[in-house]
Symmetry: C2
Subunit: 294 residues, 2 copies
């Protein structure tokens, strides 16, 4: 199967699991559930769940467990996008080619839908269906909380917010982006190892892959933002430049940034040398980062 | 020790534990941490942590474990207040006699501080320091997530938002308030039982206490809102009536609502009949609900 077929196949499976995890509701809760579904199901490449599934496969983890962890990460990712798009944050009216959550519903509903999706991620991870061993479940919860919280993703958002209009040095930009997106990619890769009882050496390799992948992913995101338009990336292009956001592309220029992304992807692939053919999709995924158009 | 001394003593201990759990930070993270501390430390009666400590005492749970769980609940409670106060939600400029988080900092910081506090609650509960047994930790995480999420507190908020200007029947108001505040009180009471390996019978009694307590607490809150002013309750009085909020006081009138609160408190105290003197503070706490001035 080609990578794009494998990605599409994973997206279908994950959407199904996510739907099962978001039951129907009546009354006011129905609107809350609608908003949660609107912003998490369907669109989106589901790259994070794909990483969870692929890293889980390296350790022979049952797919149904990996799918639940992948769904939890995708719910958490969706929460971060909903809150990011709010008027007080990035003030984005569009996301993935459709209206952002607060535009489709309203601001209050978007805040609550984000809160509920974040909470749901922890509900799923702590459920016995996700892993038989409660110690494994606790590790997943603790690791995701650390990756997403005030020393992880939220810290990255905060640095990003305060960086607008300021000049960050290269290291500061890399640190900010590692926090903002890299920590969750690291969780995706390492969660497979936690589920499958990986060794320290293996966990370190997974982390290294995620690190390079995360920064390269962000560089390409920023390149697409500079070059792209609403048709290919689902949101109006040039938004980051407009508000003078601190990006590696703005710092290094398009050519050097692209070169840096290539180096990082090579490092990611190098980190997978512990594994054979079973890691081929992860290698292809890293390559794919450089080629993606949206 | 009188109840008010016991409450004050608990508040000091919990503030200390919460401070330990919120380390210092540099740069942009420092502002995030400041906002998290501003809205969770210091003020506030810390009634929820008090319930956790008292219910834990019924089962001989180590106080340091109960304090961590109490802190987690208080962080989660603080998140809910921060997000509640946002302009898109209740639009409150004051909380506990001082500026609300988005007024003291700004809206984006308040959203992120709330997100980070919610995430921190799960980080604390899943940490081995909270309970040696990982199965116990998972139960705490799962129960808190269910109590706080799209079938718990957030659902209650959503119903509350949509109820503005509408007429809810008595049962609908009780259901909304059970979700909005009762679920977290239930977690506080039951968490002690989970930590201490309580029987089904004991857990049911704790839940029953929390249920009556929660509704009575809300009625008194609404009564204070009708009667109170900014000096005694820390926010301008009459706000709920102004936006025609669905409250039991609005539905039943002041006298009948107060009578209902008395009945509920009696039921709460009745539920504690499984315990002797060791539950006296919980009995006093239920009585205290009727007498509180803010």
């Amino acid at each position: 199967m080609t990578l794009s077929n494998a990605l599409a196949d994973c997206a279908i499976k994950i959407n199904r699991t996510m739907e099962d995890l978001l039951p129907g509701a009546l009354g006011a809760e129905a609107i809350l559930l609608d908003a949660m579904k609107y912003s998490s199901l369907g669109e989106g490449k589901k790259i994070r769940p794909f990483m969870v599934l692929q890293s889980s496969k390296l350790f022979g983890v049952k797919e149904e467990c990996a799918r639940r962890v992948g769904s939890a990460v995708e719910f958490l990712h969706s929460y971060s996008l909903i809150h990011d798009d709010l008027p007080a944050m990035d003030d984005s009216d569009f996301r993935r080619g459709k209206k952002s959550c607060h535009k489709r519903f309203n601001e209050a509903t978007a805040i609550l839908a984000g809160d509920a999706l974040l909470t749901l991620a922890f509900e799923i991870l702590s459920d016995p269906l996700t892993a038989e061993d409660s110690f494994v479940r606790c590790q997943l919860v603790n690791f995701l909380a650390k990756s997403a919280g005030h020393q992880g993703m939220v810290a990255g958002q905060m640095i990003d917010l305060l960086a607008e209009g300021k000049t960050l040095c290269l290291d500061e930009i890399v640190q900010m982006q590692s926090l903002k997106t890299g920590e969750i990619f690291a969780f995706c890769m390492i969660s497979g190892g936690i589920l499958g009882g990986a060794s320290k050496l293996q966990l370190d390799a997974l982390k290294k892959y995620a690190y390079g992948f995360g920064i390269a992913f962000q560089i390409v995101d920023d390149l697409l933002d500079v070059e792209g338009n609403i048709d290919t990336i689902g949101k109006p292009g040039g938004q980051d430049a407009k508000v003078e956001k601190a990006t590696l592309v703005a710092k290094l220029g398009v050519e050097e940034a692209r070169h840096k992304a290539v180096l990082l992807v090579n490092e990611s692939i190098e980190a997978l040398k512990l594994w054979g053919r079973e890691a081929d999709y992860l290698r292809a995924l890293a390559q794919f980062v450089l080629e993606r158009q949206r």
